[in-house]
C-alpha cells in the first residue's frame, strides 16, 4: 500500500483505532547538556516520548487509555544516549522515517537494521579502530549465531568507548563485564538467543581462587577470547573448552594481561622495580608483579649465606682431618 498522508490518517483513525497520547510534555526531562551535544533533541523526542520512558500511555479515538510497559530492548535512556558515542545523532540517522508513524508500519519494523560496519567499515576515518578485523573476529567467534549482532553487546544507544579512554580500570572492567553478564547471568535474556540451559557462572568458575577478586579485576574476555595484537579489544570469543584456564598465563612475568587488559597502557607511568608495573595502578597480580630489586637482593643474600655456610663446613672438615 502506498503510504500517503491520507492513508496514514485513515490507518490511525480507523484501522487501528489507537492514537498515541503524546506524553505530557515534560521539558524538565530535556537537560541542557543534551542540547549541547545534539542538534536534534526535539526531533528525537518524537521517538523518546515513548521509547525514552519505562511506561507510556495509549489513547484511542474514544478517549479510552491504557498504560503499557516499554520492552527493555526498545527502551532508550536519554542520559545514556546523550553521553554515548552516538550522542550527536538523530534517531533517523539510523532508523527509518516511517517509524514516525504510530502504530509503526510492519514494513519499517521488518526492515533490516543497520550494523556497525554500515558506517564504520572500510572508511579511512575509522581505520584506527580496525572494524574490519573486528568483523572477521566476530565471524569466527562462537557468538556468530542467528539473531546475534554487534548490538547484543554494544547497545548503540548507550555505548561508550570505555577501554580506550579508561582512567579507572576497575570501572572499565565492570562496564565491560556487564555486557557479558547481561545475557550470561540473566537467563531470560540468554534463552532468547540459545537453546542451552542456564549457566551458573559461580559454579562454572569454581576452580578459580578468589573468584570475587578475579571478577572485579579482569574482564571475562581476558580468558574467553583469542589475543589479537592488532585491535584493542579481542572479539573472537572462544568456546568454553578453549578458555584460558592456566593460571600462569596471567600470573607470570610475561603476563597475558599485558596483551589484553593493559595492552594500550603499557607505556604509562611505571613504578620502579616492579615487573608489569602498570597493573599496580589498579591491582596486584601474584607472579606478574615481581619486584626485580627484591628478586636480585634475595638471590644475593641467599647466595652469600650459602657461601658462608659452605666455607664454615669446609673449615670444619679440614680441622676434623687435622685432629
Amino acid at each position: 500500500m502506498k503510504k500517503t498522508p491520507t492513508t496514514i490518517l485513515i490507518a490511525l483513525l480507523l484501522t487501528f483505532s489507537f492514537i498515541l497520547n503524546a506524553q505530557q510534555e515534560d521539558t524538565a526531562k530535556l537537560k541542557s547538556v543534551y542540547f549541547e551535544v545534539n542538534d536534534y533533541v526535539e526531533d528525537n523526542e518524537g521517538c523518546l516520548k515513548c521509547h525514552g520512558e519505562q511506561k507510556f500511555k495509549l489513547e484511542d479515538a474514544f478517549g479510552r487509555t491504557v498504560t503499557e510497559h516499554m520492552c527493555p530492548d526498545r527502551f532508550v535512556d536519554r542520559d545514556k544516549y546523550y553521553s554515548s558515542v552516538h550522542k550527536s545523532f538523530s534517531c533517523t540517522d539510523c532508523h527509518s522515517y516511517d517509524l514516525f508513524e504510530f502504530p509503526h508500519p510492519l514494513e519499517a519494523r521488518i526492515e533490516e537494521k543497520m550494523i556497525c560496519m554500515d558506517c564504520h567499515g572500510y572508511d579511512e576515518s575509522y581505520a584506527q579502530y580496525h572494524f574490519e578485523t573486528i568483523e572477521v573476529e566476530f565471524q569466527e567467534s562462537i557468538h556468530n549465531i542467528d539473531e546475534f549482532s554487534c548490538w547484543k553487546c554494544h547497545d548503540p544507544h548507550s555505548y561508550k568507548a570505555f577501554m580506550r579512554n579508561a582512567d579507572d580500570i576497575e570501572a572499565a572492567v565492570l562496564y565491560d563485564n556487564e555486557m557479558c553478564l547481561s545475557c550470561h547471568a540473566n537467563f531470560s535474556q540468554f534463552m532468547v538467543l540459545t537453546d542451552r540451559g542456564e549457566i551458573n557462572l559461580v559454579e562454572s568458575h569454581d576452580w578459580l581462587p578468589n573468584q570475587v577478586a578475579h571478577f572485579r579485576s579482569v574482564r571475562c574476555i581476558e580468558c574467553h577470547t583469542e589475543i589479537n595484537d592488532s585491535i584493542l579489544i579481542a572479539h573472537k570469543i572462544m568456546p568454553k573448552t578453549e578458555a584460558v584456564k592456566n593460571c600462569t598465563e596471567c600470573h607470570s612475568r610475561d603476563s597475558h594481561l599485558m596483551h589484553t587488559l593493559y595492552k594500550f597502557q603499557v607505556k604509562e607511568d611505571r613504578k620502579a622495580g616492579f615487573a608489569n608495573a602498570i597493573i599496580l595502578n589498579n591491582s596486584y597480580v601474584i607472579g606478574a608483579n615481581q619486584n626485580i630489586v627484591l628478586n636480585w637482593l634475595s638471590l644475593l643474600v641467599f647466595g652469600l649465606t650459602f657461601l658462608v655456610i659452605l666455607f664454615h663446613t669446609v673449615m670444619r672438615i679440614i680441622k676434623l682431618k687435622d685432629k
Binding site: 576452580w207 581462587p209 578468589n210 570475587v212 577478586a213 592456566n246 593460571c247 600462569t248 600470573h251 607470570s252 612475568r253 610475561d254 599496580l280 591491582s283 596486584y284 601474584i286 607472579g287 608483579n289 615481581q290 619486584n291 627484591l294 634475595s298 643474600v301 641467599f302 649465606t305 650459602f306 655456610i309 664454615h312 663446613t313 673449615m315 670444619r316 680441622k319
Partner: protein, 207 residues
C-alpha cells in the same frame, strides 16, 4: 668419654616442631612457585601451589597458636625471656666461637643446660623469628588469602602490594633463618646429634 643427657624437648614441642618444619618447607616451595610462576623456579604448578599454600598456611597458623599458648602455660616459655640482658657482649662471644673457637676445639661459651636451652645467638634469632617474623608472616598471609579484609590503601600504596611485599620479605628472611638453623643444627658433637635430640627429646653431649 662421659655422655650427659638432658631432657629438653617435651613431646608437644617435638610434635609442634615437626609440623612447623614440614609446613614451612611446603610453604616455602609453593611460595617460590607462586612468586616465580611461569619461570624455571615454578617447582609446583600454580593451581596446586595455591591450594597447598593455603592449607599449609592454615595448619601453620593453628600450630603457631599452639606454640604461643604452650609457651605461656609450660616452662618452655622461660627459654625465650630475658634475651636483652648483656645482649651485645654475649652475641659477640657466641659469634667469635662460631667464627674461630669452634675450629680450635674451644669449649662452648654458653653450654646447654636445663636452665639454658639456647645460646644468646639462638635466643635472639628464635625470639625474632617466632615473635616478630611469624606474626608478620601470618597477618600478611591472612590479608592476601582474604583480600577483602585489606584496606584499599596502606601507607598510600595498594593494600595488596603492601601485604604481598611484606609477606615476601618476611618469608625470605625466615627462609634464610631456616637455612642457618639447619646448618647450626649440624654443629653438635656429631652432625646428626642435634637432629636426634628433636626426635627423642634428649640433648646429648660428650664431656
Amino acid at each position: 668419654m662421659a655422655t650427659s643427657k638432658i631432657y629438653l624437648y617435651p613431646v608437644w614441642i617435638r610434635i609442634w616442631h615437626v609440623i612447623n618444619a614440614l609446613m614451612f618447607i611446603l610453604l616455602l616451595l609453593t611460595g617460590i612457585s607462586l612468586h616465580y610462576s611461569g619461570s624455571g623456579f615454578n617447582l609446583i604448578g600454580f593451581e596446586a601451589s595455591v591450594g597447598i599454600h593455603n592449607v599449609c598456611a592454615l595448619i601453620l597458623t593453628f600450630n603457631y597458636g599452639v606454640y604461643v599458648i604452650g609457651n605461656m602455660v609450660t616452662k618452655n616459655g622461660k627459654y625465650y625471656r630475658k634475651w636483652r640482658k648483656n645482649l651485645v657482649p654475649k652475641l659477640w662471644k657466641q659469634f667469635v666461637f662460631y667464627a674461630v673457637g669452634i675450629f680450635r676445639n674451644e669449649p662452648h661459651p654458653f653450654p646447654i643446660t636445663k636452665k639454658q636451652k639456647f645460646n644468646p645467638l639462638q635466643k635472639v634469632a628464635y625470639v625474632f623469628a617466632m615473635y616478630f617474623g611469624m606474626p608478620l608472616l601470618i597477618i600478611s598471609g591472612i590479608a592476601l588469602m582474604v583480600p577483602d579484609l585489606i584496606g584499599y590503601k596502606v601507607f598510600n600504596v595498594s593494600g595488596l602490594i603492601f601485604y604481598d611485599v611484606l609477606h615476601i620479605i618476611v618469608g625470605f628472611v625466615l627462609s634464610v633463618f631456616l637455612l642457618i638453623h639447619l646448618y647450626t643444627c649440624t654443629l653438635g658433637d656429631k652432625p646428626g646429634t642435634l637432629f636426634k635430640s628433636m626426635v627423642n627429646g634428649y640433648h646429648e653431649e660428650h664431656k
